[in-house]
Symmetry: C3
Subunit: 155 residues, 3 copies
């Protein structure tokens, strides 16, 4: 256990663990958001999901897509597409011994940008709010990838 404790004493790794947990928790919030809109707008993807709302021809109309539901699902998928690279590259970057303040700046910018991205997507805010927040998060991840490959490339 001694070595694990040392890993958790490493400040960059601790900071990464905290920010990664926060942004993953935010991403998880998209699932109940989708469920909320499916229930309130009565737009379901599976016949078994609306069984309690009645049966017959009338109930079949509930098997439909809804703008609001699809918007939350697109925001969720965009989260996945961007948070997965952040997790993978960020973990390896944290272990590569970067400067603490530089690393924390990366993590904060990413988490802030992705939260703003979700707000821009769900309200929605006019463009380029969503596009800019996307590019900030994207740039942060690329910057970590560049720093990792520059110092530590091993092919």
């Amino acid at each position: 256990m001694a070595d694990l404790n040392k890993l958790m004493e490493n400040e960059v790794f601790m900071a990464f663990a905290s920010y990664a947990t926060i942004i993953l928790s935010k991403m998880m919030f998209m699932s109940p958001a989708t469920a909320f809109y499916r229930m309130t707008r009565k737009a379901f993807a599976n016949p078994e999901d609306y069984a309690s709302f009645g049966k017959g021809e009338n109930a079949k109309k509930l098997l439909r897509t809804d703008d609001r539901v699809e918007r939350v699902r697109r925001a969720h998928l965009n989260d996945l597409e961007n948070i997965v690279p952040f997790l993978g590259i960020g973990l390896l970057y944290s272990l590569s011994g970067p400067d603490l303040s530089t690393a924390v700046l990366h993590f904060r910018l990413f988490v802030g940008a992705r939260i703003y991205h979700t707000i821009s997507y769900l309200l929605p805010l006019p463009q380029p709010n969503r596009a800019l927040s996307f590019f900030v998060g994207y740039g942060v991840t690329l910057s970590m990838a560049y720093s990792l490959l520059k110092n530590r490339l091993y092919l």
Copy 2:
């Protein structure tokens, strides 16, 4: 290598590695399941995929969506949306020195719930089978996130 060996001697980390590998292997099974339904129900997403089934106007009808295929794809996407947070939060949780039996309980509940979720989605079982299995997996991940942020928040 000495330190790595110590990491693999850590029982919580070893348990996490085993359960994570099992649930990722289960998720990977969704890809051949999708391919199986696409082939047997002749519902393809790309023109090049049904080229061997013939050409011309008749073949174009194979470029369609099918209920069964879409159901497997939704189950696969739901896996991704839930297994990614489990992997990220679970890895950091495993390294934060939790009690072994508590940690293993978390991992077992998550893996069991996600396997039951897939069964409920694919058969399908009537609700609330799928909803309950979703919430068990969701709660396990949130419980690990809470334990991580409570003890180790570093922003």
Copy 3:
């Protein structure tokens, strides 16, 4: 920091870090590719995205799906579905002390297969180019999972 430095001195882990960063960077490239096709083919998913292209009934036609855009999105989702298991299983496999040349062979095959998969999907190349590249990447991940569970199963 001593232990982290030792982690980054481990050759298998360093190789995994490099290949994982490369394949995640490739996956990230799919986002601007989608945006490029959305702009050039004028096929948007959100009303706020085409606001600068005009308003009224004529602009509403821009809210549509396009074969080319959907193809890039399917390639992106397939990347997610396959790179997430590679990241999780590959990280744990790297820490389990495998033979260096065997491990590097796994990583190279996976990265090569996924790059070829993207090329086959986007051009597109006739089948079975895409199917074969998919199965190579899939087999590599399963082989790492098998090696991990065989040596280190801890349930």
